[in-house]
Symmetry: C2
Subunit: 212 residues, 2 copies
Amino acid sequence: MIRDLILKNRSYRRFYQEVDIKLETLRELVDLARHSASAMNAQPLKYILSCEREKNSLIFRHLTFGAYLTGWPGPSEGERPSAYIIILADTETSRFVDYDAGIAAQTIMLGATEKGLGGCIIANIQKEGLRKDLEVPPRYEILLVLALGKPKEKVVIETVGPSGDTKYWRDSKGVHHVPKRPLDDIIISYIKAERESRALCHAILFGPSAAR
Amino acid sequence: MIRDLILKNRSYRRFYQEVDIKLETLRELVDLARHSASAMNAQPLKYILSCEREKNSLIFRHLTFGAYLTGWPGPSEGERPSAYIIILADTETSRFVDYDAGIAAQTIMLGATEKGLGGCIIANIQKEGLRKDLEVPPRYEILLVLALGKPKEKVVIETVGPSGDTKYWRDSKGVHHVPKRPLDDIIISYIKAERESRALCHAILFGPSAAR
């Protein structure tokens, strides 16, 4: 069931760094993205893969892991990602790239989850530094970095409370809590029904003939 | 296997319109998106659902189905989508919405594919007309429309030819052909290796001591 995979696919930021990920695994994941939808089928996305220690360190230092976890500088040595997939846009191909990148990122993360891996889609990137270190030609825009590894933390989903605060947080036992909005808060489908119920309330309060 | 689902999840534009989709099915699909990643966990996306004939027609007329299929005005009555999920951004919540929308769209389409449905992620929308007809408040920006139904066409994936043309096309039997770039064309991972091979070529051409 895709639902099980989606629920299992959480954002992880700490890993068993000693568990290697093969280049072939990364290629299989990109191949899933390759077979996914692209605006006007233009396929402007390109990918940089990394699963070697040296290249991984080069990438790691340009990333921010979990902006809300104040005081936490990101995963320490030994708990860092084993691999990265960097999603780039070929600016000479198409300007419609952001939806494509979201589609590709989710596809790759679901594929990784199925393989017993996990990770985090990172947009908080020091792009110019990363470009310089990896010698990325100006033609390619860095969009997202997918950090991948064997997850070493527990993530639980909760419901957003009355305060409306959606910030994730980590408890004293290191469990990561993620508040999600309830389903009925994100569906605004019943526009007509809502309008009618508002009209009804108005009539009850002010009488059926009151101007609206 | 997620790969099977991803391969099955093609962009479909003609449907068995008589096959209804229940509101509960649409809610289940949005619930999958609800459990997916969101930048800074801000969850700015909202959804409008439609599976009724009248509302579907209202949405349909603001959409362009398959811009490359010149001379085809979109699916005719009887082959139109049975349902829609409109993805909106709550502009008061976050400005990072496009990756979220791509993630949500792919999640929903994979969920729909598993249910034997299919459809098309549409960004080519006459947004102001749609906003007016559905009375969408200015607070919400219309991002994508997901058209859903029971697919009534065959879609095949091919490899992009030497011309580099990525336009999809429909043959005389109505089969829809989609050229995808080869995996090795979209991975630019081997930057260091490429640099070294360029240096080697340079040395072969101009001698090992030539200035580079």
